[in-house]
Protein backbone atom coordinates (compact mmCIF):
# COMPACT_ATOMS: atom_id res chain seq x y z
CA UNK A 1 0.00 0.00 0.00
CA UNK A 2 2.90 2.35 0.82
CA UNK A 3 6.19 2.13 -1.05
CA UNK A 4 8.90 4.61 -0.21
CA UNK A 5 12.18 4.07 -2.00
CA UNK A 6 15.47 5.83 -1.22
CA UNK A 7 13.71 8.98 -0.10
CA UNK A 8 15.92 11.94 0.75
CA UNK A 9 14.30 15.32 1.31
CA UNK A 10 15.52 18.76 2.28
CA UNK A 11 13.24 21.66 3.28
CA UNK A 12 13.93 24.88 1.34
CA UNK A 13 16.69 26.88 2.97
CA UNK A 14 17.93 23.95 5.05
CA UNK A 15 21.36 22.42 4.55
CA UNK A 16 20.65 19.20 6.47
CA UNK A 17 18.16 16.73 4.96
CA UNK A 18 15.03 16.10 7.04
CA UNK A 19 14.79 12.58 5.63
CA UNK A 20 17.79 10.54 4.49
CA UNK A 21 17.65 7.33 2.40
CA UNK A 22 14.32 6.25 3.82
CA UNK A 23 12.95 2.92 2.55
CA UNK A 24 9.57 1.86 3.81
CA UNK A 25 7.00 -0.66 2.57
CA UNK A 26 3.71 -0.90 4.44
CA UNK A 27 1.27 -3.62 3.33
CA UNK A 28 -2.47 -2.94 3.13
CA UNK A 29 -4.28 -2.98 6.47
CA UNK A 30 -1.15 -2.72 8.60
CA UNK A 31 -1.06 -0.47 11.67
CA UNK A 32 2.44 0.97 11.57
CA UNK A 33 3.80 3.29 14.27
CA UNK A 34 6.65 5.74 13.71
CA UNK A 35 8.71 6.77 16.75
CA UNK A 36 11.61 9.16 17.10
CA UNK A 37 12.83 12.16 19.06
CA UNK A 38 11.75 15.70 18.16
CA UNK A 39 13.11 16.73 14.74
CA UNK A 40 13.88 13.09 13.88
CA UNK A 41 11.76 13.43 10.72
CA UNK A 42 8.43 12.00 11.89
CA UNK A 43 6.31 14.94 10.73
CA UNK A 44 8.23 15.22 7.48
CA UNK A 45 7.63 11.53 6.79
CA UNK A 46 3.92 12.05 7.49
CA UNK A 47 3.80 14.96 5.07
CA UNK A 48 5.73 12.96 2.46
CA UNK A 49 3.19 10.12 2.70
CA UNK A 50 0.33 12.57 2.09
CA UNK A 51 1.87 14.59 -0.74
CA UNK A 52 2.37 17.85 1.20
CA UNK A 53 6.09 17.17 0.91
CA UNK A 54 7.11 18.23 -1.68
CA UNK A 55 3.94 19.76 -3.24
CA UNK A 56 3.12 22.16 -0.41
CA UNK A 57 6.49 22.69 1.22
CA UNK A 58 8.60 22.52 -1.99
CA UNK A 59 12.26 21.77 -1.20
CA UNK A 60 14.53 19.16 -2.77
CA UNK A 61 13.40 15.56 -2.97
CA UNK A 62 15.07 12.44 -4.31
CA UNK A 63 13.65 8.94 -4.48
CA UNK A 64 10.11 7.74 -5.05
CA UNK A 65 6.92 7.65 -2.98
CA UNK A 66 3.90 5.65 -4.01
CA UNK A 67 0.82 5.39 -1.81
CA UNK A 68 -2.42 3.58 -2.67
CA UNK A 69 -1.14 3.02 -6.19
CA UNK A 70 -0.50 6.72 -6.82
CA UNK A 71 2.84 8.29 -7.60
CA UNK A 72 2.80 11.10 -5.05
CA UNK A 73 5.47 13.10 -6.82
CA UNK A 74 3.10 13.47 -9.79
CA UNK A 75 -0.17 13.96 -7.87
CA UNK A 76 -1.18 17.16 -6.06
CA UNK A 77 -2.61 16.61 -2.55
CA UNK A 78 -6.03 17.97 -3.56
CA UNK A 79 -6.56 14.94 -5.80
CA UNK A 80 -5.49 12.55 -3.06
CA UNK A 81 -8.21 13.67 -0.66
CA UNK A 82 -10.42 10.72 0.14
CA UNK A 83 -7.67 8.24 -0.66
CA UNK A 84 -5.02 9.38 1.80
CA UNK A 85 -6.03 11.03 5.08
CA UNK A 86 -3.95 13.19 7.40
CA UNK A 87 -4.53 14.08 11.05
CA UNK A 88 -2.04 16.34 12.78
CA UNK A 89 -1.16 17.72 16.19
CA UNK A 90 -3.23 20.83 16.69
CA UNK A 91 -6.91 19.88 17.03
CA UNK A 92 -8.06 23.48 16.70
CA UNK A 93 -6.47 24.13 13.30
CA UNK A 94 -8.05 21.04 11.77
CA UNK A 95 -11.57 22.33 12.26
CA UNK A 96 -12.60 24.01 9.02
CA UNK A 97 -14.60 26.76 10.73
CA UNK A 98 -16.96 26.71 7.76
CA UNK A 99 -19.53 24.42 9.40
CA UNK A 100 -21.52 24.99 12.55
CA UNK A 101 -22.10 21.52 14.01
CA UNK A 102 -19.99 18.41 14.51
CA UNK A 103 -22.16 16.48 12.05
CA UNK A 104 -21.72 19.11 9.34
CA UNK A 105 -18.01 19.37 10.05
CA UNK A 106 -17.62 15.64 9.44
CA UNK A 107 -19.69 16.02 6.26
CA UNK A 108 -17.42 18.77 4.86
CA UNK A 109 -14.93 16.40 3.21
CA UNK A 110 -17.69 14.29 1.66
CA UNK A 111 -19.41 17.40 0.30
CA UNK A 112 -16.13 18.32 -1.36
CA UNK A 113 -15.89 14.85 -2.89
CA UNK A 114 -19.43 15.32 -4.20
CA UNK A 115 -21.05 12.29 -2.53
CA UNK A 116 -24.85 12.01 -2.53
CA UNK A 117 -26.57 13.21 0.64
CA UNK A 118 -27.92 9.81 1.76
CA UNK A 119 -24.43 8.33 1.53
CA UNK A 120 -23.02 11.27 3.52
CA UNK A 121 -25.59 10.78 6.29
CA UNK A 122 -24.97 7.06 6.74
CA UNK A 123 -21.20 7.50 6.66
CA UNK A 124 -21.34 10.28 9.28
CA UNK A 125 -23.20 8.07 11.75
CA UNK A 126 -20.62 5.34 11.26
CA UNK A 127 -17.66 7.69 11.76
CA UNK A 128 -19.21 9.36 14.82
CA UNK A 129 -19.91 5.97 16.38
CA UNK A 130 -16.34 4.80 15.76
CA UNK A 131 -14.90 7.90 17.43
CA UNK A 132 -17.50 8.04 20.21
CA UNK A 133 -18.85 11.44 19.18
CA UNK A 134 -22.49 10.51 18.49
CA UNK A 135 -23.65 12.34 21.64
CA UNK A 136 -22.18 15.67 20.57
CA UNK A 137 -23.16 15.49 16.89
CA UNK A 138 -25.28 18.63 17.04
CA UNK A 139 -22.92 20.80 19.08
CA UNK A 140 -20.53 23.40 17.72
CA UNK A 141 -17.08 21.94 16.92
CA UNK A 142 -15.60 24.78 18.95
CA UNK A 143 -17.57 23.79 22.05
CA UNK A 144 -15.73 20.45 22.27
CA UNK A 145 -12.78 19.54 24.50
CA UNK A 146 -9.33 19.04 22.94
CA UNK A 147 -9.72 15.26 22.97
CA UNK A 148 -13.13 15.49 21.37
CA UNK A 149 -11.83 17.92 18.74
CA UNK A 150 -9.00 15.58 17.88
CA UNK A 151 -11.44 12.67 17.60
CA UNK A 152 -13.53 14.95 15.37
CA UNK A 153 -10.47 15.43 13.17
CA UNK A 154 -10.06 11.65 13.01
CA UNK A 155 -13.79 11.16 12.28
CA UNK A 156 -13.58 13.79 9.52
CA UNK A 157 -10.83 11.74 7.87
CA UNK A 158 -12.21 8.25 8.53
CA UNK A 159 -15.56 9.30 7.05
CA UNK A 160 -13.84 9.80 3.69
CA UNK A 161 -12.79 6.13 3.86
CA UNK A 162 -9.17 6.72 2.92
CA UNK A 163 -7.13 3.65 2.05
CA UNK A 164 -4.26 5.12 4.05
CA UNK A 165 -4.60 7.26 7.16
CA UNK A 166 -1.53 9.14 8.42
CA UNK A 167 -1.57 10.63 11.92
CA UNK A 168 1.16 13.00 13.06
CA UNK A 169 1.33 12.96 16.88
CA UNK A 170 -2.44 13.30 17.29
CA UNK A 171 -2.22 13.31 21.10
CA UNK A 172 0.75 15.61 21.68
CA UNK A 173 -1.43 18.56 22.69
CA UNK A 174 -3.90 16.56 24.76
CA UNK A 175 -4.21 15.76 28.45
CA UNK A 176 -4.25 12.10 29.63
CA UNK A 177 -8.03 11.87 29.31
CA UNK A 178 -7.98 13.24 25.77
CA UNK A 179 -5.09 10.90 24.91
CA UNK A 180 -7.03 7.88 26.15
CA UNK A 181 -10.08 8.93 24.12
CA UNK A 182 -8.05 9.33 20.94
CA UNK A 183 -6.29 5.99 21.37
CA UNK A 184 -9.63 4.28 21.99
CA UNK A 185 -10.80 5.64 18.64
CA UNK A 186 -7.56 4.53 16.98
CA UNK A 187 -7.78 1.04 18.43
CA UNK A 188 -11.35 0.78 17.11
CA UNK A 189 -9.98 1.79 13.72
CA UNK A 190 -7.16 -0.73 13.99
CA UNK A 191 -9.63 -3.47 14.97
CA UNK A 192 -11.75 -2.73 11.89
CA UNK A 193 -8.57 -3.41 9.95
CA UNK A 194 -9.49 -2.08 6.49
CA UNK A 195 -7.44 1.09 6.73
CA UNK A 196 -3.67 1.18 6.49
CA UNK A 197 -2.57 3.41 9.37
CA UNK A 198 0.74 5.21 9.88
CA UNK A 199 0.90 6.80 13.32
CA UNK A 200 3.76 9.03 14.46
CA UNK A 201 3.63 9.09 18.24
CA UNK A 202 5.70 9.60 21.38
CA UNK A 203 3.55 7.66 23.79
CA UNK A 204 5.12 4.22 23.57
CA UNK A 205 2.88 2.39 26.01
CA UNK A 206 -0.16 3.25 23.93
CA UNK A 207 1.55 2.19 20.69
CA UNK A 208 2.68 -1.06 22.19
CA UNK A 209 -0.94 -1.98 22.82
CA UNK A 210 -1.98 -2.24 19.18
CA UNK A 211 0.68 -1.26 16.63
CA UNK A 212 1.63 -4.19 14.42
CA UNK A 213 4.96 -2.66 13.53
CA UNK A 214 7.22 0.10 14.81
CA UNK A 215 9.62 2.15 12.71
CA UNK A 216 12.19 4.21 14.63
CA UNK A 217 13.60 7.38 13.09
CA UNK A 218 16.70 9.24 14.17
CA UNK A 219 18.23 12.19 12.33
CA UNK A 220 15.96 11.53 9.35
CA UNK A 221 17.04 7.92 8.98
CA UNK A 222 15.29 4.67 9.86
CA UNK A 223 17.34 3.05 12.63
CA UNK A 224 15.01 0.18 13.57
CA UNK A 225 11.99 -1.42 11.91
CA UNK A 226 10.05 -4.47 13.06
CA UNK A 227 7.53 -5.89 15.52
CA UNK A 228 6.84 -3.49 18.42
CA UNK A 229 8.37 -5.69 21.11
CA UNK A 230 11.54 -6.19 19.13
CA UNK A 231 12.00 -2.52 18.19
CA UNK A 232 10.95 -0.92 21.48
CA UNK A 233 13.36 -3.08 23.50
CA UNK A 234 16.20 -3.01 20.96
CA UNK A 235 19.61 -1.48 21.74
CA UNK A 236 19.36 0.74 18.61
CA UNK A 237 16.45 2.66 20.04
CA UNK A 238 18.27 3.61 23.24
CA UNK A 239 20.53 6.12 21.50
CA UNK A 240 17.85 7.99 19.59
CA UNK A 241 15.95 9.69 22.39
CA UNK A 242 12.72 7.75 22.10
CA UNK A 243 12.90 6.30 25.60
CA UNK A 244 11.39 3.03 26.72
CA UNK A 245 8.10 1.93 28.20
CA UNK A 246 8.03 1.79 31.97
CA UNK A 247 7.57 -2.00 31.69
CA UNK A 248 10.83 -2.30 29.75
CA UNK A 249 12.62 -0.02 32.24
CA UNK A 250 11.47 -2.04 35.24
CA UNK A 251 12.38 -5.32 33.54
CA UNK A 252 15.86 -4.07 32.67
CA UNK A 253 16.48 -3.17 36.31
CA UNK A 254 15.24 -6.60 37.40
CA UNK A 255 17.55 -8.31 34.89
CA UNK A 256 20.53 -6.15 35.86
CA UNK A 257 20.02 -7.08 39.52
CA UNK A 258 19.73 -10.74 38.63
CA UNK A 259 16.10 -11.08 39.72
CA UNK A 260 15.03 -12.34 36.30
CA UNK A 261 17.11 -14.45 33.87
CA UNK A 262 18.93 -12.26 31.34
CA UNK A 263 17.65 -14.21 28.33
CA UNK A 264 13.97 -13.52 29.04
CA UNK A 265 12.54 -11.14 26.37
CA UNK A 266 11.81 -7.64 27.69
CA UNK A 267 8.13 -6.63 27.97
CA UNK A 268 6.45 -3.54 26.45
CA UNK A 269 2.86 -4.01 27.66
CA UNK A 270 1.29 -4.63 31.03
CA UNK A 271 0.39 -8.22 30.14
CA UNK A 272 3.92 -8.97 28.95
CA UNK A 273 5.29 -7.42 32.15
CA UNK A 274 3.09 -9.67 34.26
CA UNK A 275 4.34 -12.70 32.32
CA UNK A 276 7.91 -11.43 32.65
CA UNK A 277 7.85 -11.06 36.42
CA UNK A 278 5.89 -14.22 37.30
Amino acid sequence: MIHVHDLTYRYPGQSRPALLDVNLDVPAGQFCAVVGANAAGKSTLCYALTGFVPHFYRGKLQGTISVAGRDLLQTPPGELAGEIGLVFQNPFNQITGARFTVREEVAFGLENLGLPREEILSRIDEALALTGLADVADRSPYALSGGQQQRLAIASMVVMRPRVLVLDEPTSQLDPVGTREVFAALSALAAAGDTTVVLAEHKLEWLAAFAQRVVALSGGQIVADGPPREVLTSPEIKGCGVGQTRYTQAARVAQRDGLVPADKPLPITLQQAIDFFT
Binding site: Y47, T50, F52, F56, P76, P77, G78, E79, A81, G82, G85, L86, F88, N90, F92, N93, Q94, I95, T96, G97, A98, R99, F100, R103, E104, A107, F108, G109, L110, E111, N112, L113, G114, L115, P116, R117, I120, L121, I124, S140, Y142, A143, A153, S156, M157, M160
Partner: protein, 261 residues
Amino acid sequence: MSETFSIYLARESGLHRLHPLTKLALAGFSMVAGLALPGLWLTYAAFAVVMLPVAAWGKILGAYARAVWRLLLPFAVSLLLVQGLFWTGGTPLIRVGPLSLKLEGVIFAVRSSGRILLVTGGFLLLALSTRPDALMIALAQRGMPRSIAYIVLTTLQIVPRFQAKADAILDAQRSRGLETEGNILRRVRALLPLIVPLVLGSILDIEERAIALEARGFSHPGPKTSLLVLADSASQVAARWGLLAGMVVLIVARLVAGCWA
Protein backbone atom coordinates in the same frame (compact mmCIF):
# COMPACT_ATOMS: atom_id res chain seq x y z
CA MET B 1 -18.81 33.49 25.16
CA SER B 2 -20.87 32.72 22.08
CA GLU B 3 -19.56 30.12 19.65
CA THR B 4 -20.33 32.15 16.57
CA PHE B 5 -20.03 35.79 15.64
CA SER B 6 -23.54 35.93 14.21
CA ILE B 7 -26.92 37.27 15.25
CA TYR B 8 -28.91 34.34 13.84
CA LEU B 9 -31.78 33.23 16.10
CA ALA B 10 -32.91 29.62 15.69
CA ARG B 11 -36.73 29.42 15.56
CA GLU B 12 -39.30 27.12 13.97
CA SER B 13 -41.06 29.47 11.59
CA GLY B 14 -42.16 29.92 8.03
CA LEU B 15 -39.68 32.80 7.67
CA HIS B 16 -36.83 30.57 8.81
CA ARG B 17 -37.87 27.89 6.34
CA LEU B 18 -37.82 30.30 3.37
CA HIS B 19 -34.97 29.80 0.93
CA PRO B 20 -32.06 32.14 1.86
CA LEU B 21 -32.13 33.76 -1.56
CA THR B 22 -35.82 34.68 -1.10
CA LYS B 23 -34.93 36.52 2.09
CA LEU B 24 -31.91 38.07 0.39
CA ALA B 25 -34.21 39.30 -2.39
CA LEU B 26 -36.54 40.80 0.22
CA ALA B 27 -33.57 42.53 1.86
CA GLY B 28 -32.46 43.87 -1.51
CA PHE B 29 -35.98 45.08 -2.27
CA SER B 30 -36.20 46.73 1.13
CA MET B 31 -32.90 48.49 0.52
CA VAL B 32 -33.99 49.81 -2.88
CA ALA B 33 -37.35 50.86 -1.43
CA GLY B 34 -35.61 52.68 1.40
CA LEU B 35 -33.57 54.68 -1.08
CA ALA B 36 -36.33 55.23 -3.66
CA LEU B 37 -39.57 55.84 -1.73
CA PRO B 38 -40.61 59.50 -1.80
CA GLY B 39 -42.06 61.63 0.99
CA LEU B 40 -41.40 61.74 4.68
CA TRP B 41 -43.40 58.86 6.14
CA LEU B 42 -43.68 56.23 3.39
CA THR B 43 -40.52 54.44 4.53
CA TYR B 44 -41.82 54.24 8.09
CA ALA B 45 -45.19 53.01 6.82
CA ALA B 46 -43.53 50.34 4.68
CA PHE B 47 -41.49 49.22 7.67
CA ALA B 48 -44.55 48.98 9.90
CA VAL B 49 -46.76 47.28 7.30
CA VAL B 50 -44.23 44.86 5.78
CA MET B 51 -41.11 44.32 7.91
CA LEU B 52 -42.66 44.13 11.37
CA PRO B 53 -45.39 41.61 10.41
CA VAL B 54 -42.78 39.48 8.59
CA ALA B 55 -40.61 39.54 11.72
CA ALA B 56 -43.63 38.57 13.81
CA TRP B 57 -44.31 35.69 11.39
CA GLY B 58 -40.67 34.64 11.96
CA LYS B 59 -41.20 34.71 15.75
CA ILE B 60 -38.35 37.19 16.11
CA LEU B 61 -40.33 40.42 16.49
CA GLY B 62 -38.86 41.40 19.87
CA ALA B 63 -35.23 40.74 18.91
CA TYR B 64 -35.80 42.35 15.52
CA ALA B 65 -37.29 45.52 16.98
CA ARG B 66 -34.43 45.76 19.47
CA ALA B 67 -31.78 45.26 16.79
CA VAL B 68 -33.34 47.86 14.48
CA TRP B 69 -33.72 50.31 17.38
CA ARG B 70 -30.10 49.91 18.48
CA LEU B 71 -28.81 50.36 14.97
CA LEU B 72 -31.06 53.28 14.05
CA LEU B 73 -30.94 55.31 17.27
CA PRO B 74 -27.35 56.62 17.03
CA PHE B 75 -27.91 57.60 13.38
CA ALA B 76 -31.23 59.28 14.12
CA VAL B 77 -29.93 61.23 17.11
CA SER B 78 -26.79 62.43 15.38
CA LEU B 79 -28.71 63.34 12.22
CA LEU B 80 -31.22 65.29 14.27
CA LEU B 81 -28.53 67.18 16.17
CA VAL B 82 -26.18 67.87 13.30
CA GLN B 83 -28.78 68.68 10.63
CA GLY B 84 -31.29 70.28 13.00
CA LEU B 85 -28.82 72.60 14.72
CA PHE B 86 -26.50 73.42 11.85
CA TRP B 87 -28.89 73.74 8.91
CA THR B 88 -27.95 76.98 7.15
CA GLY B 89 -30.88 79.37 6.90
CA GLY B 90 -34.18 77.60 7.52
CA THR B 91 -37.03 78.15 9.92
CA PRO B 92 -36.10 78.07 13.58
CA LEU B 93 -38.40 75.95 15.78
CA ILE B 94 -36.83 76.24 19.22
CA ARG B 95 -34.12 78.61 20.37
CA VAL B 96 -31.76 77.80 23.23
CA GLY B 97 -29.16 80.53 23.70
CA PRO B 98 -27.10 80.83 20.51
CA LEU B 99 -28.45 77.52 19.11
CA SER B 100 -31.69 76.92 17.26
CA LEU B 101 -33.38 73.83 15.88
CA LYS B 102 -34.38 74.33 12.23
CA LEU B 103 -37.47 72.80 10.66
CA GLU B 104 -35.71 71.88 7.41
CA GLY B 105 -32.95 70.10 9.33
CA VAL B 106 -35.49 68.09 11.32
CA ILE B 107 -37.32 67.08 8.14
CA PHE B 108 -34.05 65.98 6.55
CA ALA B 109 -33.17 63.93 9.64
CA VAL B 110 -36.58 62.23 9.71
CA ARG B 111 -36.39 61.42 6.00
CA SER B 112 -32.83 60.06 6.24
CA SER B 113 -33.64 58.00 9.31
CA GLY B 114 -36.54 56.43 7.42
CA ARG B 115 -34.20 55.48 4.60
CA ILE B 116 -31.70 53.94 7.01
CA LEU B 117 -34.57 52.09 8.71
CA LEU B 118 -35.59 50.30 5.52
CA VAL B 119 -32.07 49.76 4.15
CA THR B 120 -30.82 48.08 7.33
CA GLY B 121 -34.18 46.58 8.32
CA GLY B 122 -34.22 44.14 5.42
CA PHE B 123 -30.71 42.89 6.05
CA LEU B 124 -31.28 42.56 9.79
CA LEU B 125 -34.32 40.43 9.05
CA LEU B 126 -32.18 38.25 6.77
CA ALA B 127 -29.39 37.94 9.35
CA LEU B 128 -31.70 37.13 12.24
CA SER B 129 -33.68 34.45 10.42
CA THR B 130 -31.05 32.82 8.17
CA ARG B 131 -28.21 30.52 9.12
CA PRO B 132 -25.03 32.10 7.68
CA ASP B 133 -23.93 28.76 6.25
CA ALA B 134 -27.29 28.31 4.51
CA LEU B 135 -26.96 31.71 2.85
CA MET B 136 -23.36 31.00 1.79
CA ILE B 137 -24.22 27.56 0.43
CA ALA B 138 -27.15 29.05 -1.49
CA LEU B 139 -24.89 31.71 -3.00
CA ALA B 140 -22.15 29.17 -3.78
CA GLN B 141 -24.75 27.03 -5.57
CA ARG B 142 -25.55 30.09 -7.72
CA GLY B 143 -21.92 30.44 -8.77
CA MET B 144 -20.30 32.53 -6.05
CA PRO B 145 -16.70 31.25 -5.53
CA ARG B 146 -16.61 28.68 -2.72
CA SER B 147 -13.50 30.31 -1.28
CA ILE B 148 -15.54 33.45 -0.57
CA ALA B 149 -18.19 31.38 1.23
CA TYR B 150 -15.38 29.73 3.20
CA ILE B 151 -13.80 33.06 4.17
CA VAL B 152 -17.11 34.56 5.34
CA LEU B 153 -18.10 31.50 7.38
CA THR B 154 -14.72 30.95 9.04
CA THR B 155 -14.54 34.63 9.91
CA LEU B 156 -17.84 34.33 11.77
CA GLN B 157 -16.47 31.47 13.85
CA ILE B 158 -12.89 32.65 14.18
CA VAL B 159 -13.60 36.14 15.51
CA PRO B 160 -14.71 34.80 18.94
CA ARG B 161 -11.68 32.41 18.97
CA PHE B 162 -9.45 35.32 18.10
CA GLN B 163 -10.85 37.31 21.02
CA ALA B 164 -10.27 34.38 23.37
CA LYS B 165 -6.69 34.05 22.12
CA ALA B 166 -6.09 37.78 22.58
CA ASP B 167 -7.39 37.51 26.16
CA ALA B 168 -5.07 34.58 26.85
CA ILE B 169 -2.05 36.45 25.47
CA LEU B 170 -3.00 39.54 27.45
CA ASP B 171 -3.23 37.48 30.65
CA ALA B 172 0.12 35.86 29.91
CA GLN B 173 1.81 39.23 29.30
CA ARG B 174 0.18 40.73 32.40
CA SER B 175 1.44 37.88 34.56
CA ARG B 176 4.93 38.78 33.34
CA GLY B 177 4.47 42.31 34.57
CA LEU B 178 3.15 44.11 31.50
CA GLU B 179 1.11 47.14 32.55
CA THR B 180 -2.09 47.36 30.55
CA GLU B 181 -3.97 49.93 32.57
CA GLY B 182 -3.41 53.63 32.99
CA ASN B 183 -3.22 56.53 30.55
CA ILE B 184 -3.59 56.26 26.79
CA LEU B 185 0.15 56.23 26.14
CA ARG B 186 0.68 53.29 28.46
CA ARG B 187 -2.19 51.36 26.93
CA VAL B 188 -0.92 51.95 23.41
CA ARG B 189 2.51 50.74 24.51
CA ALA B 190 0.90 47.61 25.96
CA LEU B 191 -0.71 46.85 22.60
CA LEU B 192 2.50 45.79 20.86
CA PRO B 193 3.27 42.73 23.04
CA LEU B 194 -0.34 41.71 22.47
CA ILE B 195 -0.53 42.16 18.73
CA VAL B 196 2.81 40.61 17.74
CA PRO B 197 2.14 37.12 19.18
CA LEU B 198 -1.49 37.26 18.06
CA VAL B 199 -0.69 38.12 14.45
CA LEU B 200 2.41 35.93 14.12
CA GLY B 201 0.61 33.00 15.73
CA SER B 202 -2.30 33.39 13.37
CA ILE B 203 -0.02 33.52 10.33
CA LEU B 204 1.66 30.28 11.45
CA ASP B 205 -1.78 28.71 11.89
CA ILE B 206 -2.63 29.47 8.28
CA GLU B 207 -0.16 26.87 7.02
CA GLU B 208 -1.78 24.12 9.09
CA ARG B 209 -5.26 25.27 8.16
CA ALA B 210 -4.38 25.15 4.47
CA ILE B 211 -3.09 21.59 4.84
CA ALA B 212 -6.17 20.54 6.82
CA LEU B 213 -8.45 21.97 4.13
CA GLU B 214 -6.56 20.22 1.34
CA ALA B 215 -6.76 16.93 3.22
CA ARG B 216 -10.52 17.41 3.38
CA GLY B 217 -10.69 17.77 -0.39
CA PHE B 218 -11.35 21.52 -0.57
CA SER B 219 -9.65 21.72 -3.96
CA HIS B 220 -10.82 18.28 -5.09
CA PRO B 221 -11.95 18.57 -8.72
CA GLY B 222 -15.53 17.79 -9.65
CA PRO B 223 -19.02 18.76 -8.49
CA LYS B 224 -19.79 19.35 -4.81
CA THR B 225 -22.78 18.31 -2.77
CA SER B 226 -24.27 19.66 0.43
CA LEU B 227 -25.57 18.01 3.57
CA LEU B 228 -27.76 21.02 4.25
CA VAL B 229 -30.92 20.87 2.16
CA LEU B 230 -32.22 24.26 1.08
CA ALA B 231 -35.91 23.83 0.36
CA ASP B 232 -37.11 25.94 -2.53
CA SER B 233 -40.45 26.14 -4.33
CA ALA B 234 -41.90 27.50 -7.55
CA SER B 235 -43.78 30.17 -5.61
CA GLN B 236 -40.54 31.33 -3.96
CA VAL B 237 -38.79 31.49 -7.32
CA ALA B 238 -41.71 33.58 -8.58
CA ALA B 239 -41.55 35.79 -5.48
CA ARG B 240 -37.83 36.39 -6.04
CA TRP B 241 -38.43 37.44 -9.64
CA GLY B 242 -41.29 39.62 -8.43
CA LEU B 243 -39.05 41.36 -5.88
CA LEU B 244 -36.37 41.83 -8.51
CA ALA B 245 -38.92 43.36 -10.90
CA GLY B 246 -40.18 45.54 -8.03
CA MET B 247 -36.66 46.85 -7.47
CA VAL B 248 -36.34 47.76 -11.15
CA VAL B 249 -39.75 49.50 -11.09
CA LEU B 250 -38.80 51.50 -7.97
CA ILE B 251 -35.48 52.57 -9.45
CA VAL B 252 -37.04 53.57 -12.78
CA ALA B 253 -39.88 55.42 -11.06
CA ARG B 254 -37.42 57.27 -8.90
CA LEU B 255 -35.27 58.25 -11.88
CA VAL B 256 -38.32 59.43 -13.84
CA ALA B 257 -39.64 61.41 -10.87
CA GLY B 258 -36.16 62.87 -10.40
CA CYS B 259 -36.08 64.03 -14.01
CA TRP B 260 -39.46 65.76 -13.67
CA ALA B 261 -38.48 67.48 -10.48
